[in-house]
């Protein structure tokens, strides 16, 4: 018995073995073993020996080695472990089962459906799978069967529909799968990096922001492109690709084109984003240094104080959690919204400045072209005091120098806003100080303490943190939503009628309106803008309307409560007109831009021709009344 084996991948899952000597292909190692033992093969061997032709090596070890060298697919693994070296062994194992190289970690299912058939003397002689209606004699084969795909499919079909069964991957599917895995791994790594939160990992923070913009931009580019495949990222380098998930492509309407064109007009330029990014990260790092200095200056306080502070810290997370809608909670766990740039290390739980967070338009990715003011919030362990603020203002310039020696920043105190302002390169960063402790009731009564910063401002800063989290959980993933919010932000800045609508109320409005489409249909940007206008036009904001429940506050108060009846009236009036402008193809007036030229399409003539033909019949609904 001598032959070399080629493992070919042309048929089935690629587990065929070929006897080169006889030029016979066998499915599986058992078939091959049977062949080797068979008379035909022996005859050929004999013949070859007689004729003095070369015969491949005989020792089983050598055969195994030779096989390895020929093999080309990873599927060989199973064959090897199957023990071809001992061909006479288990000839009676079921053939199909062995092809289905099972994942090592698959748990066998449906033990109860496998019947043992016993011989008269009580010995188990074979097994019968009632689900798949097949039999095996060998316990190993039974094990294999229970892990096999076919069995699992039957089990899923007949017993437990929730069972996950891998789709037998075709070559193409497998590629897609691999691609998916690769992406998932990249994503994982990215989040891990973010979550890890090394203070030095400035790049990670940067990419977090870039991603937000890019996601939107990518979508825009893709939609603008007629190509059926998503193109490469428009930015050099590029963070790991996110959410490339397919959205159903629809032909782009004129409204969509106008909205996206306006969007790219108001979207900040690359340089703007970079310079904002720069000043923000410098400020963040400088604040971290200040925090370090403060922590060192006040070394070990009593253990009790530290303990007390840690508990308040955990309290704060729970209270803010309960306020935000429950749906957010799941997402919180994965650290996605955890954009706290923490100063804390394990050892010093008694730091005064615990961390800094981006809030407002910066954190939400709503910056528009020309925006120069961004906001940060510093979380303090205890009530932030004027003394503390002054101290930070004193230390910060040096720290900024240390972080970014080439840039010049000015630091001014802004006690009225409970914070300080870092300015430079025409940009200003408002850093507000707050603490979760300010939420507690005694903080309100204890307002006698002159030194503590304005409670109202501190609470506002806390609310800003919650708004940011809400935004990232609800609005970011919603199709067209962020684009429309930017467009509406632009509208609110441009049009005096819309300016009374606070940014937060506007974000809530847009998210609610866009997410409430019956049937969870994804709206294109044009449709989404129209729907927002429809909502306001239908009197959503008028007195007597339902109001905009604020999910980030207790008992969801109306987020737009500040609007006067006249402002509500004017907003509605304006939206009503805007809606009709959109309906009558004048969306460019709403967006404050020039009309785009109509795209050159072949079938355009066809359409207008039809319209003319029909217009005759249009008026003829005759009246009696």
């Amino acid at each position: 018995m001598a032959a070399s084996v080629a493992v070919t991948s042309q048929n089935r899952a690629g587990n065929s073995l070929r006897c080169q000597l006889c030029d016979v292909t066998c499915t599986g190692n058992d078939a091959y073993a049977a062949h080797i033992r068979g008379a035909k093969h022996q005859k050929v061997v004999l013949l070859h020996t007689k004729l003095g032709k070369p015969i491949p090596p005989q020792e089983p070890e050598v055969i195994g080695g030779a096989r390895k060298s020929v093999s080309s697919t990873p599927k060989i693994n199973f064959v090897q472990s199957g023990g071809l070296g001992i061909p006479a062994g288990n000839g009676d194992t079921s053939k199909e089962e062995e092809e289905e190289t099972p994942e090592p970690d698959i748990q066998p299912v449906g033990q109860d459906y496998i019947e043992e058939i016993k011989s008269d003397d009580g010995k188990v002689i074979s097994f019968n799978c009632k689900l798949c209606e097949c039999r095996f004699n060998d316990p190993n084969a039974k094990e294999m069967h229970m892990k096999g795909r076919r069995h699992r499919l039957q089990y899923k079909k007949k017993v437990n529909p929730d069972l996950v069964v891998d789709v037998k991957p075709s070559l193409r599917q497998r590629k897609i799968q691999e691609e998916k895995m690769r992406r998932a791994a990249l994503r994982e790594e990215f989040w891990a990096r973010r979550h890890y939160n090394m203070p030095e990992d400035e790049e990670g923070m940067y990419w977090e922001d870039r991603r937000r913009y890019e996601e939107e931009y990518m979508e825009m580019v893709r939609r603008g492109n007629m190509g059926p495949y998503p193109r490469g990222r428009p930015f050099p380098g590029g963070a790991p690709p996110y959410f490339q998930g397919g959205m159903p492509r629809r032909t782009e309407s004129s409204d969509d084109r106008h909205v996206m064109a306006r969007h790219s007009e108001i979207y900040p330029k690359e340089e703007e984003l970079q310079s904002i990014q720069r000043i923000v990260s410098h400020t963040e790092r400088a604040l971290k240094n200040v925090s370090d200095q403060l922590a060192e200056a006040k070394p070990k306080e009593g253990q009790a104080a530290a303990a007390g502070q840690t508990t308040t810290k955990s309290d704060s997370t729970t209270t803010s959690k309960s306020d935000i809608e429950k749906t957010l909670e799941q997402q919180k766990e994965d650290g996605r919204d955890n954009q706290l740039f923490s100063f804390q290390q394990d050892r010093d739980a008694n730091r005064i400045l615990k961390g800094v967070m981006r809030v407002g338009h910066l954190a939400k990715g709503l910056l528009l072209r020309g925006d120069t003011n961004v906001e940060l919030v510093v979380l303090c362990a205890d009530k932030p005091t004027l003394t503390l603020l002054k101290k930070v203002v004193e230390l910060l310039p040096a720290a900024l120098k240390q972080v970014a020696s080439e840039n010049t920043y000015t630091v001014t105190i802004n006690a009225a806003e409970a914070g300080l302002i870092v300015a430079g390169e025409g940009l200003t960063v408002l850093v507000q100080f707050t603490s979760p402790v300010m939420r507690e009731q005694e903080a309100a009564s204890g307002g006698l303490d002159r030194d503590v910063l304005s409670r109202g401002k501190c609470l506002q800063a806390l609310a800003a943190l919650r708004h940011t989290k809400w935004f990232q959980a609800r609005a970011l993933g919603l199709h067209s939503c962020v684009v429309i919010i930017r467009i509406l932000r632009d509208l609110c800045q441009r049009v005096p009628t819309w300016s009374p609508l606070s940014s937060w109320a506007m974000e809530l409005l847009a998210e609610k309106v866009i997410s409430s489409v019956p049937g969870q249909v994804q709206l294109s940007p044009g449709d989404a803008l129209r729907r927002v206008m429809e909502a306001v036009a239908s009197g959503l904001l008028l007195p007597g309307g339902p109001g905009l429940g604020d999910p980030c506050e207790k008992d969801s108060p109306d987020a737009a409560v500040a609007l006067t009846p006249q402002q509500r009236e004017d907003l509605t009036c304006s939206a009503q007109y805007a809606l009709r402008l959109i309906a009558y193809r004048q969306i460019y007036k709403v967006l404050g831009m020039d009309p785009l030229p109509a795209p050159q399409k072949v079938f355009r003539r066809d359409r207008s021709a039809r319209k003319r033909r029909r217009s005759g019949g249009e008026q003829e609904g005759s009246e009696i009344n």
Binding site: T251, V495, S538, P565, T572, C573, S574, K589, R607, G617
Partner: protein, 404 residues
């Protein structure tokens, strides 16, 4: 919208075999409708007290309902004419100018949505033969004769003298209290054979057939009394605000049905909510281009009812509703219902409790005038009117129900 969909009805001689790949996908969208997404907008402030508003609606409805005298008068007349026509169906005798297939009551009389002061009932007569003008004339004479026979034993009071006339729709029989219109049409398969030279107009014939479908649909789907009340109120509103003029009675029927019944619970909404919702829907652009609007349940092809209006009419209808919605929100319901004031509120600035409600301009026409509180001030000069799409999907089969 089935623009490229099947149009199977008789009489269509185009729209068949249009290459599907050339058709631009046009997916009208249903506009924002608060009633359908209340879960996203839970009420966070107390609902205003609407008892007075509801009372006003009910009072207005009572005022608008026909008086018992009117009801009796019309019922008498309809019964007599129905009897005469039924006889003609069963036993035409020597009347051979035309053959009657069926006689049906339609319109607001049948539906129970009549408004006082407009005491007109409609009856549709379906002929087996073709509706020539002569046949209609002869039918008119026959009915007149038979009615005279029928009433010869009655003492006819002065005001109950019947007058007969014929027009392009059929026959009108009236006395000073009531009027019955006998509208002639023909069997559906005859419609194609109509020749404008000798027969009554094809479109009118079709509209009469549609009227039968409408009243049947109404009977099956819209028998809820709130719907009838709302229809009556809307008809009254329509008659007072000329922006609503292009809305046909059939549109109002469907709109009222939609406003009351089309909600997640499928339970009839209270009258005050539904009345406001009509204005909310219209304001949100239910009847604007690009909106899914309301699909006519009585047409084989899916047809959006508002496409029977011209684009400009759609715009004016929408803006009137938008202005009235704001008036309503500021407490001006009495003016809308016609209990106070006049219809100038739709076109002139008005002040409600310190809030200035300004009317709106058309979006359809060339640059509208400058207007306070609107964002487009500086841009208005820019663009001329642009092409308007998607009003084209009107079917030749569309027949606005034109019944009282």
């Amino acid at each position: 919208m089935a623009r490229g969909g099947m149009r199977g009805r008789g009489g269509m001689n185009r729209g068949i075999g249009r290459p599907p790949y050339k058709v631009k996908m046009f997916l009208p969208r249903h506009p924002f409708d608060l009633a359908l997404c209340e879960s996203s907008f839970p009420r966070v402030k107390p609902a205003p007290d609407e008892t007075a508003f509801t009372q006003a609606l009910l009072k207005r409805n009572a005022d608008l309902s026909p008086t018992p005298a009117e009801q009796t008068a019309i019922l008498n007349l309809v019964t007599k004419i129905q009897t005469v026509l039924d006889n003609l169906v069963v036993a035409p005798g020597n009347f051979d100018a035309c053959q009657l297939d069926e006689v049906r009551q339609v319109g607001s009389f049948k539906k129970g949505t009549m408004v006082t002061g407009h005491n007109v009932a409609d009856i549709v007569v379906i002929l087996k033969t073709l509706p020539t003008r002569e046949a209609v004339e002869a039918l008119g004479n026959k009915v007149k004769e038979d009615l005279k026979n029928l009433m010869k034993n009655e003492i006819v009071a002065k005001g109950e003298q019947l007058t007969h006339s014929t027009n392009e729709r059929g026959i009108e029989i009236s006395n000073s209290y009531a009027c019955v219109r006998v509208m002639v049409t023909t069997l559906h398969h005859n419609i194609r054979k109509l020749d404008p030279e000798i027969h009554l107009d094809q479109k009118i014939m079709l509209s009469h057939l549609a009227a039968i479908r409408h009243s049947r649909w109404f009977e099956e789907n819209a028998h809820h009394s709130s719907i009838k009340v709302l229809i009556r109120l809307l008809r009254d509103v329509r008659s007072r605000f000329d922006g609503f003029d292009p809305l046909t009675p059939w549109m109002l029927d469907l709109l009222a049905h939609f406003a009351i019944m089309h909600n997640p619970s499928r339970q009839a909404l209270p009258l005050n909510v539904a009345f406001r919702r009509v204005f909310q829907l219209l304001s949100a652009g239910l009847f604007l281009p690009g909106s899914a609007g309301i699909t006519d349940p009585c047409e084989g092809v899916s047809l959006r009812i508002h496409t029977a209006m011209t684009l400009e009419q759609q715009d004016v209808c929408c803006l009137t509703a938008q202005t009235l919605l704001r008036v309503l929100a500021h407490g001006g319901y009495k003016h809308i219902l016609g209990l106070e004031g006049n219809s100038s509120i739709a076109k002139e600035m008005s002040v409600w409790d310190g809030v200035v409600v300004s009317p709106l301009d058309k979006a359809y026409e060339n640059p509208p005038e400058k207007k306070d509180g609107d964002e487009e001030d500086e841009d208005m000069e820019g663009g001329g009117r642009r092409e308007h799409g998607n009003a084209g999907d009107i079917s030749r089969f569309f027949t606005s129900s034109t019944l009282s």
